[in-house]
């Protein structure tokens, strides 16, 4: 309905392959980013920042990471929180042991450590297919849980097993207030989103998708399975590792190993199933959904005057998550992102139905 595409022709491949080829999309995106950077910090309350926006931004980043390996490369992982943990503890130890290191470098290094560990656990994917990998990654989850709980060096011999961090400092800017955290995270997320989009529309992204869609054919046309799968694990773990470091440093501030347990892994999976596997945009939808739903569940019964215990609410949350996963798999296996795409297509063709 809002699309006016006449005259938006491409006279070069660069223009044809740009991120958002349609003018209206570019305008919308610029407006959205401007809104997020300028308007949101001015009007939103601390509560919304802390309980909604900050978790959303970090979880979106993690979901993008998981989506790269599961949604794009088709390699199932149910232990991605472990790589978040690796990122978080790597960052913790880097900051602890090399205090003068710039936090951005810490993030990159933490991501690299996570990538290395991710690759290690991705190695079984070379011998085994699909579902077996679930077990390998589940192993990673339990092993990492154990590692960070038991090996004292990682937690700097903290008695309780939990670690504390100071507020992040960046070029003299102390990222302390919710607004500052939000703006910092938003910038990081946008950067990583662009990187993810670039990767998936580059040849490495096509190699991943080829492995996912038809691995034998992919190998026959010359795609090296080792490289495709391990690079997917590495990049994915890098993203997730960075998200883990941010989750620890910016969102939690102090945490114990249980912060990155199996539940978080499953939640990440939930996000990409609901949001849309094989869609960067879907990762955002999924993250938003998982952040918003508990809050709605907490508020709604109150609002309707139905008393409900917190335990009840958390059980209800589980049930809704479960039902939604099955629902989406049956009705729209490509998740909210596909619904969005369909809506967009309808707008482009409006008033025609197809």
């Amino acid at each position: 309905m809002f699309y006016r595409e006449n005259g938006q022709f491409k006279s070069s491949y660069a223009a044809d392959q740009q991120l958002l080829p349609i003018l209206q999309d570019r305008v919308f995106m610029v407006a959205l980013v401007a809104f997020a950077f300028v308007v949101v910090p001015l009007v939103v309350s601390d509560y919304v920042f802390l309980s909604l926006l900050i978790p959303f931004l970090i979880l979106a980043l993690a979901a993008i990471g998981l989506n790269l390996v599961v949604g794009y490369c088709g390699q199932i992982s149910i232990g991605h929180a472990a790589f978040m943990a690796v990122g978080a503890y790597a960052a913790y130890n880097l900051v602890l042991r090399i205090p003068q290191l710039n936090f951005l470098i810490v993030l990159v290094l933490a991501g690299l450590v996570a990538a290395a560990v991710g690759m290690l656990f991705g190695i079984p994917s070379l011998r085994i297919k699909g579902l077996y990998l679930a077990v390998a990654t589940l192993g990673a989850q339990f092993f990492m849980d154990w590692l960070f709980a038991r090996v004292k060096w990682f937690t700097n011999y903290a008695h309780s097993g939990s670690v504390q961090t100071a507020p992040v400092e960046l070029f003299g800017w102390s990222i302390d207030s919710p607004q500052e955290k939000y703006v910092f995270l938003l910038a990081v997320l946008i950067l990583f989103t662009v990187i993810a989009r670039n990767l998936v529309r580059g040849h490495i992204g096509r190699a991943w998708m080829a492995m996912r869609d038809m691995d034998v054919a992919a190998e026959v046309i010359g795609i090296r399975p080792v490289y495709a799968k391990l690079s997917a694990f590495a990049v994915s773990s890098f993203f997730v590792g960075v998200a883990g470091a941010l989750w620890g440093f910016v969102h939690l501030g102090s945490w114990e190993p249980a912060a990155f347990n199996l539940t978080l892994s499953l939640n990440l999976l939930f996000m990409i199933i609901i949001g849309g596997m094989g869609s960067i945009l879907g990762s955002f939808f999924g993250a938003a959904f998982i952040v918003v739903l508990p809050i709605v569940l907490n508020q709604l019964p109150q609002f309707l005057g139905i008393p409900m215990s917190t335990a009840m609410i958390s059980h209800l949350e589980f049930m809704i998550f479960g039902a939604l996963i099955v629902f989406f798999l049956i009705v729209e296996p490509h998740g909210l992102a596909r619904l969005w795409a369909i809506g967009k297509e309808k707008l482009r063709l409006w008033p025609f139905p197809h």
Binding site: G74, I76, I78, I123, P124, R127, I128, G130, L131, Y132, A134, V135, A136, L138, G139, F142, F143, D145, W146, A149, R150, V151, K152, G161, V216, A217, V220, L262, L266, L269, F270, I273, A311, M312, S314, H315, L316, E317, F318, M319, I320, F321, G322, A323, L324, I325, V326, L329, I330, P333
Partner: protein, 333 residues
């Protein structure tokens, strides 16, 4: 057979590891046998859950992540029902509940997703896991509950003549093991001797062929999920009586996954053998390897049984991807 040397090597290493505590004299023989038996006991339970898992995978190609959740759900059901009725009635009712659950899952989840890829079905069982965890705790409550099987829990000293100090054995454990073994036997009979069992095996061998000779797939799925549910219930009850019924049971039950990987996804025998190997292996590792690790690396406690099963399964995967008893898969292009 030359290609099998890594497997041989791995098995040999396991055996050496198994023998090491005894050979080095790190453990008195009596204690060693106690640990071994304890491991076997847990292994039997793993085998039970893994059997349910392997059944479902064989018959419907579904990699059922919800097996652990089913164990918890069944255990919760029995525990809470037993508060209002005799245990046997609670168990019977629990079985009815599990069969009903199988119906619902087949109707709501499996049937709409028929012919989907394995990964989609796996994700669906993830959804079922979420749902069962939430639903179970909503309906049955989320505290820790006890199941009292009515068997005395005090340990009995046996074989005092053979080992110094004898071996402590829990009566309940023995009873549980017997029950499990009986169940395995019944299941084996069911598959070998009954028409339904044979139909199930036909389905497992070739879905399309089975359908073409008139075996109703949907009903088979209900049966197989019911059987898996009953197996889960037995496992849940036994576990519940030993450890109490709580959320962590579903995590422990997840160990069925490495078990089937080790044994081979499609093999019931594999599930049984795998369960025993992992049960013994992790117990041994925890008891004998754990302290060594703690001392060497200054760890904050052992707990390696949390991951040992997975690492073991992974090692097996790398040398023998199809598992001990699984069939080798050939790609068709």
């Amino acid at each position: 057979m030359a290609r099998n040397w890594p497997v041989v090597l791995l098995c040999a290493a396991l055996l050496v590891g198994l023998a090491l505590p005894l050979a080095t004299g790190a453990s008195p023989p009596g204690f060693y046998v106690e640990v071994l038996l304890g491991g076997l006991m847990t292994g039997v339970l793993y085998s039970l859950v893994a059997m349910g898992f392997a059944l479902i995978f064989k018959a419907s190609g579904v990699f059922n992540f919800a097996q652990g959740a089913m164990v918890l759900f069944a255990a919760l059901a029995v525990a809470r029902l037993a508060e209002r009725m005799p245990l046997w009635a609670a168990i019977l009712l629990g079985i009815v509940v599990m069969i009903a659950l199988a119906f619902v899952i087949e109707r709501v989840v499996l049937r709409p997703l028929v012919n989907q890829e394995g990964i989609a079905l796996f994700m669906a069982t993830l959804g079922v896991t979420f749902f069962l965890d939430g639903f179970g705790q909503t309906v049955w409550g989320s505290d820790i509950y006890k199941i009292d099987l009515g068997i005395a829990k005090e340990p009995v000293m046996v074989l005092q003549g053979l080992f110094q100090g004898g071996i402590l054995i829990n009566k309940e454990d023995v009873a549980a093991a017997l029950v499990a073994v009986a169940l395995v036997a019944v299941l084996a009979l069911f598959f070998q001797k009954t028409a339904t069992g044979r139909a199930l095996r036909a389905v497992a061998d070739d879905h399309q062929a089975a359908q073409s000779i008139g075996i109703p797939l949907n009903r088979m799925w209900v049966i197989v999920w019911s059987v898996a549910g009953i197996v889960a219930l037995v496992a849940g009850v036994i576990w519940g009586s030993r450890l109490g019924v709580q959320f962590s049971v579903s995590l422990v039950a997840l160990k069925a996954l490495p078990v089937v990987i080790l044994g081979g996804l499609t093999s019931v025998t594999g599930a049984i053998v795998g369960g025993l190997i992992i049960g013994v292996g992790e117990k041994m590792a925890e008891v004998f390897l754990g302290p060594v690790l703690v001392k060497t690396f200054d760890l904050a406690g052992g707990g390696i049984e949390n991951w040992f099963a997975y690492v073991l399964a992974l090692l097996f995967l790398l040398v023998r991807p199809q598992g001990l008893f699984g069939e080798k898969h050939i790609d068709r292009v």
